[in-house]
């Protein structure tokens, strides 16, 4: 079983729809959860960062973590064509050098259709 599972299937939504992305993981030591956005031919950029279980909201983006189910989600409200990108989940056990290795999901390609 991979450490982080993310269904890479492309997701197409009409502009204004809610985008829902999720990852599951197997390592119960993970405590820090991130979502990266990667535009075509660019490097990943940090979008959201959450510690432990709970919700975090930043503008149109909401990240949720359910550690009991080992399940994290990213929601994008009022999606825009500029949100078209690949979204990678990533997680680590800690923030300290030596235990902060990032485990990535494969990424989820999102296309927002105008």
């Amino acid at each position: 079983q991979k450490e982080v599972e993310q269904d890479p299937g492309p997701l197409s939504v009409p502009e204004g729809a809610i985008v829902s992305l999720n990852c599951t993981y197997s390592n119960s030591a993970f405590q820090y959860f991130m979502w990266y956005r990667q535009y075509s031919r660019k490097g990943p950029e940090l979008l959201m960062y959450t510690y432990s279980s709970g919700n975090k909201e930043d503008g149109r983006f909401t990240a949720q973590v359910d550690k009991s189910s080992k399940y994290i989600s990213l929601f994008i409200r009022d999606s825009q064509p500029s949100d078209s990108a690949t979204y990678l989940c990533a997680m680590s056990a800690g923030l300290y050098y030596g235990n902060n290795r990032l485990a990535f999901g494969k990424g989820n390609q999102v296309v927002v259709i105008p």
Partner: protein, 116 residues
């Protein structure tokens, strides 16, 4: 703007011909990483430097080497590229603080390598 720069953005090489990819940063971060990302796959960590201290991942092939001559620059050398090494190579940096904490990783735009 402080940033992570990778050159070239696209690199074409021949099977078996050594190639070097370059990464530079103006963030003054003490940790630099190299990742390999194949199409529709997660980035895979190859190795990282903490200052001049090199840390190789156990499953990184010997064909991949790295150099960090100073804080700002880090190089990825592929000694004999095979067709399976065609991928996007991402450089990332982060800062390890004196208390042991580490900030998030900042990624460069990547170098796409094609092996003919």
């Amino acid at each position: 703007d402080a940033m992570v720069i990778q050159n070239p953005r696209y690199q074409v090489t021949q099977f078996g011909k050594p190639v070097t990819l370059s990464c530079s940063q103006t963030l003054n971060h003490n940790v630099m990483y190299w990742y390999q990302q194949k199409s529709s796959q997660a980035p895979k960590l190859l190795f990282h430097y903490y200052d001049k201290d090199f840390n190789n991942e156990a499953d990184t092939p010997d064909n991949f080497q790295s150099r960090r001559p100073n804080t700002s620059f880090c190089f990825l050398d592929i000694r004999s590229p095979g067709l399976g090494d065609a991928a996007m190579y991402l450089c990332a940096t982060s800062r390890k603080t004196t208390s042991g904490g580490q900030e998030t990783q900042y990624f460069g735009p990547g170098t796409r390598l094609l092996v003919l």
